[in-house]
């Protein structure tokens, strides 16, 4: 039992690190796009045009999910480091980070998908 708890905590830690690195890679790409602002309206709008296809829409939703998972899991890790909920940490990962995360994801993703579908 103790092993399982530890395993889950370590897995959650790895999830946190992999998602964190992915978000940093995204931040690089994001600044790269935003930097096009300095080259004027045409250059910026041309850069944005890249992101208007279904592939990038899907990647955007993946990014949204990654952000939510990283944020909620980060809160969970902080609480555990502070000694809160240590006995329940495995349940917390699934119920809290994954469960509540899924609800927030759907609340954000559904309006975006519906709006995107209306346009096309």
């Amino acid at each position: 039992m103790k092993y399982l708890r530890q395993f889950s905590g370590q897995t959650a830690q790895v999830v946190q690190r992999v998602s964190g690195v992915l978000l940093l890679v995204y931040l690089f790409l994001h600044v790269r796009t935003i930097h096009e602002l300095s080259r004027g309206p045409e250059a910026f709008d041309a850069a944005l045009l890249t992101f208007r296809n279904p592939l990038f829409k899907t990647l955007e939703l993946g990014l949204f999910a990654t952000v939510i998972l990283h944020a909620l899991n980060g809160i969970r890790i902080t609480l555990i480091d502070l000694g809160i909920g240590q006995e329940r940490q495995r349940r917390l990962f699934w119920v809290y980070s994954v469960g509540i995360g899924a609800v927030i994801f759907l609340a954000g993703a559904i309006p975006l998908v519906l709006a995107a579908m209306q346009r096309s």
Binding site: G20, V21, I34, P41, I75, L112, A115
Partner: protein
């Protein structure tokens, strides 16, 4: 002591990012029907990003995100490797330089608004 400070700072910046990111998502993707469709354009965001208050918020957001992200990378490197003081300092130095250049690259985006 420095590690404790670093730990706290990672949590504080994380909490700040939670607030800033929620606001960022709302303002850039949910506030209007145009944004929900994903029809971002220069014109759609120009008045906001030309506003100095928003520029301040966006730049602060970038700096906090860079701190959190690069400090996270530092934690990962130090955790998975056994290196001495010198190498640790070298890694920290490289990450600080990367952060400064990256921040400047972002701030520069507002140059011609």
């Amino acid at each position: 002591m420095r590690n404790v400070l670093s730990w706290y700072f990672q949590r504080i910046t994380g909490a700040l990012l939670l607030i800033l990111l929620a606001a960022h998502f709302w303002v850039e993707h949910f506030m209007s029907a145009e944004l929900r469709r994903g029809d971002l354009s220069y014109q759609a965001i120009h008045s906001r990003i030309a506003n100095p208050t928003w520029q301040f918020i966006d730049i602060a957001f970038l700096l906090v995100a860079l701190w959190h992200g690069l400090n996270g990378v530092r934690n990962i490197i130090l955790d998975y490797s056994r290196i001495g003081r010198r190498a640790t300092q070298a890694i920290s130095g490289v990450l600080v330089v990367a952060g400064v250049v990256w921040a400047w690259w972002g701030i520069e985006a507002f140059r011609n608004l």
